[in-house]
Subunit: 334 residues, 2 copies
């Protein structure tokens, strides 16, 4: 019903049918999620989950582990890319410490999501316990619940965590049955030799894993705290009929986990961009997802969401503001 | 000098080098055009040139010719897609009557660019005289001069004109030595039969043409008034070191003409999107242009420029506002 009403509205706008391309699909989807032919995007939020990764000590990243903490402070000081783009588009930025290897001062405006000071390395054993994994999902949900209470109906998710493309790549490989070599990329900037090392380490980790293909078990074994909190947050936002913006490779891996837990999330999410990180294109294809942007970004932090957000607004705006053929007295297709 | 300074600034921002992808290229280009490491986009404008086409009467478009006039009135009433997107991004919209087949009331806020009430059909003869073509370039320049006097340093160009994909396709075919079948598309929505008819008509027009491959001669013979005024406007904006945003297929054909007249325009333009109109992808490839967006738009009006504009702002903003590794005390790549 709402779908048909929305489609009629869209088709009667003063433009050739379909000529606004993906914006038309987007307007339809947002209308469906919010359950109205006059959707409004209210109090947009972007949540960046940050955590450290035991696997980082095995040498899978171009940057030292300390950068996770340093970048969290950079977020809080307003100096990172995501700060700039959120300011530009009036998106409220919330940084959540999901498990950074540092005791932040308690007065800092940091979301409370801490599980531990980083995961264990998953090279020889699980990154976290089953309880910790469950706690991640709940903490992610809590973050969203608090934000939803502020009237927010559109929310994006990003991350910061040196080493987290490794978690995402292994989860992708095992959940999608794809070779790890197709799932890994240069992350923040590995050279050829370092990339090969990353591949070897992750292959070894997969060989060492003796568990099942159950998504919850895989998430606990290979996950990052930020990745799993994102999964919990996405599931919660989807259940609340919020418009969910998915960022790059790690966020899409978190979405993959969420989707395996609850297929209803599918229609609630908007894939914001295709990252330059190699595995992302393949993962998006696996998910039959068509992202809005393709700017060769590979930064994370939710930057793809923030940059795509004006397109969501454009979709809503054309639906609400454009004249119809009838109202403008314009001849339709001959 | 400015290029090196900009690159150092960009590389020292708190992100892995290159991780902002096309936004980094964009920041560099905008800094180069405006000649500063602290670029600001000032008083953005979007100009829509509108005109009618004699070729439309041969049956090359899905919409009747009257739609050009009706859409101009829709622009003036604020009801078209371009109005919505310009409002969203605080872009000043200027509509110019380059040659619509209608006498608009003189009190309307319509830019004065009128050459005649539409071109002649180029099926059996030239669309306009050489003097009219020259006048188009000058009127386009005048429009830009007046806008530049308002302090504007970033300007996009769009168009409205039933039949104008035919002009653009023939100019592309002859200037790029490509078969017309590769250059035409469905425009505002032709079906297979109508598309074949369009191809036959344009092939006939090309066969009937006995002139040279000189760009000025081709522009007069096959051009539209709005297309040529856009060419003049782009050349003028480039000469004034304004940031020039190029919209879809017709605007890119206008750029092609501008480039053949003055190669210096190349570094001043930003290709905003890749249109769904078939010839556009090929034309962009021919120009080695990598557009910012690919949303399957095929509307024209400058909508791609308006939708891409926030990305230009993001590029400028990250350059001006992000912390550097030094200022944020963050470890660089190991």
């Amino acid at each position: 019903m709402i779908t048909e009403d929305l489609q009629i509205l869209i088709d009667n706008k003063t433009k050739p049918p379909g000529s606004l391309g993906m914006l038309e699909t987007l307007a339809l989807q947002i209308g469906e999620i919010l359950g109205t032919t006059k959707p409004q995007l209210i109090n947009p939020h972007l949540v960046v989950f940050a955590a450290d990764h035991g696997i980082a000590k095995e040498g899978v990243s171009a940057f030292p582990k300390e950068v996770t903490r340093q970048m969290v402070l950079n977020f809080l000081n307003g100096g990172a890319a995501i700060n700039v783009f959120c300011r530009q588009h009036d998106i409220h930025l919330q940084v959540v410490d999901a498990g950074v290897n540092y005791d932040f001062e308690s007065h800092l405006p940091l979301g409370k999501g801490k599980i531990a000071k980083g995961t264990a390395s998953f090279l020889h054993g699980p990154a976290m316990t089953a309880s910790e994994a469950e706690l991640c999902l709940l903490k992610g949900e809590t973050v969203v619940t608090e934000i939803a209470l502020k009237g927010c109906n559109v929310i994006g998710f990003g991350e910061m965590g040196i080493g987290n493309t490794s978690s995402a790549a292994v989860l992708m490989s095992l959940l999608c049955d794809l070779p790890i070599s197709d799932c890994i990329g240069r992350g923040t900037g590995l050279n050829d030799e370092q990339l090969l090392k990353k591949q070897n380490i992750l292959e070894q980790a997969i060989t060492n894993y003796k568990g099942s293909k159950d998504v919850a078990e895989l998430m606990a074994y290979f996950g990052g705290f930020e990745l799993l909190e994102m999964t919990g947050a996405m599931l919660a936002a989807g259940k609340r009929n919020m418009v969910v913006m998915v960022d790059g490779f790690i966020a899409t891996a978190a979405y993959l986990c969420a989707y395996r837990m609850d297929k209803n999330i599918r229609n609630k999410v908007i894939f914001c961009h295709e990252s330059e990180e190699k595995g992302h294109r393949l993962l998006l294809a696996h998910l039959q997802a068509k992202p809005l942007l393709g700017l060769h970004l590979r930064l994370g932090e939710g930057t793809g969401c923030a940059l795509a957000y004006p397109l969501l607004k454009s979709a809503v705006n054309f639906l609400n503001e454009m004249a119809s053929f009838q109202s403008a007295g314009i001849a339709n297709k001959s």
